[in-house]
Symmetry: C2
Subunit: 243 residues, 2 copies
Amino acid sequence: MQYASKTTDQSGLEATWPRGRRSTFVAQRVRDMIVAGDIEAGTRINERVLTEQLGVSRTPLREAFKILEGEGLVRIDPNRGATVVGISPEEVEAAIEVLIGLESVAAARACERATPQMIAEIERLHAEMVDAYQRGELMEYFHINQTIHQRIVDCAHNATLSRIYAAESARIRRYRYAGNRRSERWARAVFEHEQILDALRQREGALLREVLRAHHLSGWGVTRNVLEGELSKAENQTLPGDR
Amino acid sequence: MQYASKTTDQSGLEATWPRGRRSTFVAQRVRDMIVAGDIEAGTRINERVLTEQLGVSRTPLREAFKILEGEGLVRIDPNRGATVVGISPEEVEAAIEVLIGLESVAAARACERATPQMIAEIERLHAEMVDAYQRGELMEYFHINQTIHQRIVDCAHNATLSRIYAAESARIRRYRYAGNRRSERWARAVFEHEQILDALRQREGALLREVLRAHHLSGWGVTRNVLEGELSKAENQTLPGDR
DNA sequence: TTGAGGCATATTGCATGCAAACATCCTAGA
DNA sequence: TCTAGGATGTTTGCATGCAATATGCCTCAA
């Protein structure tokens, strides 16, 4: 048995992992697998299988599970091990509400503290994203999109804010990806991103906050429909990843 | 050698820990020790000492360190183990900014969704807190105070919000405690809490948000002064706990 | 006296072994 | 046929041993 891996090659065992950070790297790998939907929600993860696949022993893997449990990606039941947590549309909505709140905090500060370099970096990412949009590269578009939001939050120069925002974004990433598959959303999202960029350039904190909020709410409307559609298709099974 | 423990008896080794959740319980114990200031910021934690003190082996302790690292309470350096992280006043301020943002999200929702039972529970806690205030029981007062804020956030019925709020509160708890030792702050804080309770009772989301915000900013002003005073006393050593 | 190098000890990182809990399958009795 | 119970294999939880790394100490040369 093996857990599928769409994001990395399946060539087999890892070479050698550096000593000292094995659990961290393992956590990163497993996190990627979960976020990419390689391991379906609700799946119980067998330690032996994953240790063989990753080429590490159980100790660093179990430490990685503790990290991922803290991030809300897996649940650890006594004597039953780690299970990939499934998130309901309601929970995704709750998390998005939090992300909006965090971006609201970021908005004012970002407009005060963003350096011209940071804004230029975001403009560069925006151009890349538009390019990906025009080429129809969904995955790339989606990835850059997420990066832009993270960079805006980073502009606030608040490490706590950046850390929490990154963790929560990662936790619901695979569900939001579902919403972004609707290509009719793209054009609107690109337009909204231009508004966001304008507000940041003009350093209008209150405006930036409102534009970001509207952007997320509009995106969530689409995502929710997709998720609920998939849920009813799946007939109350586990939530699908990005199939 | 032994790490002091003001919060629990020092009678020595633990009895037996239940199988299946040892790392969780160990994490709780160590978290308590850090939050209470029993282990000073900047201290490198020796695994052997702590395993002997807690009566568990290194494996669950090391898993507990991973949990606490995720919470931002310790830092794990390769081949050097876990160190209690010290937080600068700037970082505490950044975290409080985030907490204010999270409470802002909570405020509107709490006023929509709080059940009468939840409000009654908060009123009960408030009465207890006033009682502790009148008896001069600082630790108890502080603890109930924190619980009230958590309960208000819980009223929003947003699990993500509650989880993040709890984690961030814990991370900076010992620093805020320093600010609350100024007893002249107590009277004002109790008054502000009454305003908070009123806003919640009347389900005035916007008002609740503003009152909470003002409450935190006023508290932070005192805390910052205390922290900066202690910092200069300590002459750029590690941040003191609750000495 | 100081500092570089090297040896001895302490400490951490990880793999592994063993015991407890769990899961599965089989059988006996109703 | 169905179910209780138990035998057997599987999986997890934890302790421990070994190797790698860090740390402290000592020596010796400049």
